[in-house]
């Protein structure tokens, strides 16, 4: 039996590595995904901003100065009338417009509440929400200084007031750098996608060509066949994963707080689940088109219910429950845990068990299905 598997594995290796373009593409996907770290940010910086200052007073200029001194707002347009705001927002040239009304400085000087208007383009709801939050923060600081002045206090003796002050520490990611999370989640997505697609593709191809039947009539067991199929791909994917990790660590300073050995060994669990899923999809589909469509059909929910793109905690409850079925969810916890949090098996064991269970279930299911289909 041993030599049988060996021969089979050898054949799979030759077959897989013959398609150079494919091997390159797999590695490239890990590369490209890592490159996303350069470009993708969820936080909002350099927001194109228009300012309409009707007051033109030292106070209004001071406020504008506050806005332009942050990284968040990039004041691109100083405009002279309301119509321009319409135009800039309609064309998407500016995402927010700040309007300082005529009585701004008068209100401040006479101790009333001065108002500042912020017009935000809500068609990007995420950007708009963040922009409003940033603007509120700036205005609050600006306002606080004036309030202190009104009470006859300076910044120094204000610190002696009975107030509740913030002492905020961010664990794991002190600089709140989104790139680090982005990197590890992209690597996780790449591992999942390539796993399912490659396995499904390889099995369906043999099916289409008809060589699968020839293999089935040999005394090879179906699980042996599946294992032999996924082994070479697993090796290429491991190489891809290593490329992804190298880029993440050396180009983007993603910390490795936990054990790399643990990470790579737990990654095999994900590969196992992903490729098992690919084989399963291949056995139930008739041709490549079907198989690939089915892959996407299954991969998208797996991706969106994993927390890689948006946190699971902000989803509706039903989707939160469903997310436990997504192997990527558990893998993301593992990869974030090992790289960013630096935790080990003591904390991660529930995820490891879940991922293993999902992988094993899929593998058994696809072995059975495989046998039935072919037998």
């Amino acid at each position: 039996m041993n030599s049988r598997i060996k021969a089979l594995i050898k054949k799979e290796f030759i077959q897989f590595f013959r398609d150079r373009a494919l091997v390159m593409l797999v590695i490239y996907i890990f590369l490209e995904i890592a490159i996303c770290g350069f470009a993708l940010f969820m936080d909002v910086n350099n927001l194109p901003t228009a300012v309409y200052d009707l007051d033109k007073s030292p106070q209004s200029r001071a406020l504008i100065e506050k806005f332009s001194s942050t990284e968040n707002f990039n004041i691109k347009y100083l405009i002279q009338n309301y119509n321009e705001i319409d135009d800039l927002l309609d064309r998407g040239k500016a995402s927010v417009a700040i309007v300082i009304p005529k009585d701004f400085s008068v209100n401040i000087l006479e101790g009333r509440t001065a108002k500042v208007q912020l017009l935000a383009d809500g068609s990007n709801s995420n950007t708009a929400t963040l922009a409003i939050a940033y603007a509120n923060k700036i205005i609050r600081m600006f306002s606080r200084n004036i309030e202190l002045e009104r009470m006859g206090l300076t910044e120094n003796n204000a610190a002696l007031l009975p107030t509740v002050n913030n002492l905020i520490t961010s664990w794991y990611e002190p600089g709140l750098n989104f790139t680090h999370f982005n990197m590890v989640s992209m690597v996780a997505i790449a591992a999942m996608f390539t796993g399912v697609l490659l396995a499904a593709g390889a099995v369906v191809r043999e099916k289409e060509v008809g060589t699968l039947e020839q293999l089935m009539v040999t005394p090879i067991k179906s699980y042996e066949l599946i294992l032999a199929k996924i082994l070479p791909m697993g090796i290429v994917k491991m190489a891809g994963l290593a490329v992804g990790v190298l880029i993440a660590v050396f180009l983007f300073d993603v910390p490795i707080r936990g054990s790399l050995i643990l990470f790579f060994s737990l990654s095999t669990l994900l590969f196992f689940a992903a490729m098992g899923l690919g084989v399963f999809i291949a056995t139930i589909s008739k041709n490549m088109q079907q198989a690939l469509l089915l892959c996407f059909f299954i991969l998208f929910p797996i991706m969106f219910l994993s927390g890689t793109m948006v946190p699971i905690s902000s989803m509706p409850k039903v989707l939160q429950w469903l997310s436990y079925l997504s192997p990527l969810r558990h893998y993301l916890d593992i990869i974030v845990g090992i790289f960013l949090k630096g935790v080990g098996l003591r904390i991660l064991w529930p995820q490891v068990v879940a991922l293993g269970a999902i992988g094993l279930t899929i593998f058994i299911l696809s072995s059975i299905k495989f046998q039935k289909r072919m037998g």
Binding site: V116, M288, F304
Partner: protein
């Protein structure tokens, strides 16, 4: 794009015999027959966008609410309890429970059971009563920074309001009173999507993503499959011209694409109640041009790849991934470094996402969107010309 197609057809006519409509028609018929024979694929191609729509509509919720927190109350006074009450009643936090030491906090954060921990120092009530400031420590899980930043914002705001109320309390006790109205206030007004719902932002963008994901995939596979099987050679030696072959191969998938679009448009409009402010006709027209782009990319890929798996992976790399990541669909383009801003111009999803949001949410006409419309037009012409040229070369 129509013009370039016409030119190409004219060229074809000059080259040899006339473009034969019956030949195109018979390839069309064959392709339709193959699709019909495989209702499974058709079914997935149609159900899939709906699933995507539901997923995106419900799962991609970028609003941060119900942040799970734990509290380590080292003061355990009535004052600290009212402070905790303020936090838990704010609606932003979901108080998972209290802890008694730092080790427990570490454990909960490590396991991801809570996203933040608030530590109320000993002497909290005493110090405030004496008129001294106190520091409340907050530890946030920074692994997902956007959420962490929002938590920090909420906590800071709560602390500020709480501080103001304490100062007011003391002032009132001493008989004095001071008006604590803010000196400057922000009045925000949100245009186009006043309720700031994620779905109104996501779904118009999703049209672009779905039309980018499936039509190129299906048309590439349809062509590469014939190449893998070798049946493409038979077609090449027949009098069928490349352009006839391409039209015959792609029109069915373009039609499926439109069907997909119609479904998500209807579902988005009536299930998710996404607004549709602009002209439907304009949207349809520009969507058609966009579909030409996406199918054109599919044909181009099919000329470069030999196996279906490799073709599919390449399609994934140049269509699905950029349309999700480098198009402004989720990650804003103005935030990207200059090089990647330029990179986004290479993928047509970027133009169509803007167009789609502009028409649906802003109700823009063609004038406001002119740069995007022109780019889309140029893109479609270029990609179709390129695909046909490459295809012809492949044949020779």
């Amino acid at each position: 794009m129509y013009i370039s197609l016409k030119k190409m057809i004219k060229k074809e006519m000059k080259w040899g015999d006339r473009m034969d409509q019956t030949r195109t028609y018979s390839i069309l018929k064959k392709e339709f027959y193959e699709i019909r024979r495989d209702p499974y694929t058709l079914g997935i191609a149609i159900v899939m966008p709906l699933i995507l729509l539901l997923l995106f509509g419900y799962a991609i919720n970028l609003d941060v609410k119900n942040i799970s927190i734990t509290i380590f109350d080292r003061d355990a006074s009535s004052r600290s309890r009212t402070y905790v009450e303020k936090i838990s009643s704010s609606g932003y936090f979901d108080l998972v429970g209290y802890v008694d030491n730092y080790a427990e906090i570490e454990e909960l954060l490590d396991k991801g059971k809570v996203k933040a921990a608030i530590i109320i120092p000993g002497g909290f009530a005493e110090k405030l009563a004496k008129g001294m400031p106190v520091e409340v420590e907050t530890i946030v899980d920074g692994t997902f920074p956007p959420a962490a930043e929002i938590s920090i914002g909420y906590i800071s705001a709560i602390n500020e309001i709480y501080s103001a109320s304490i100062i007011n309390e003391i002032l009132q006790k001493n008989g004095g009173s001071i008006e604590l109205s803010p000196a400057v206030q922000l009045e925000e007004r949100v245009w186009y999507n006043p309720s700031l719902e994620s779905k109104n932002f996501i779904i118009p963008g999703l049209f672009a993503v779905i039309l980018m994901a499936f039509p190129p995939l299906l048309s590439t596979l349809a062509i590469v499959r014939e190449r893998e099987k070798g049946s493409i050679q038979q077609i090449f030696v027949s009098p069928t011209r490349p352009i006839e072959f391409i039209i015959g191969k792609t029109v069915p998938y373009a039609m499926i694409a439109f069907l997909e679009m119609a479904i998500i448009l209807v579902a988005g409009r009536f299930w998710f109640r996404v607004p549709f402010e602009g002209s439907f006709l304009l949207f349809l027209l520009l969507a058609t041009i966009y579909v030409f782009c996406t199918v054109g990319i599919g044909v181009l890929v099919s000329t470069m790849m030999k196996s279906q798996v490799a073709a599919m992976l390449l399609v994934l790399v140049i269509t699905v991934m950029p349309s999700l990541l480098f198009s402004g669909f989720i990650y804003p383009i103005f935030n990207m470094p200059a090089f990647f801003k330029f990179y986004t111009f290479l993928f047509p999803a970027r133009y169509f996402i803007d167009i789609s949001r502009d028409i649906l949410l802003k109700g823009n006409g063609i004038v406001e969107m002119l740069p995007n419309v022109v780019m889309l037009f140029i893109y479609a012409s270029a990609i179709i010309t390129l695909a046909t040229l490459r295809f012809r070369k492949n044949v020779d």
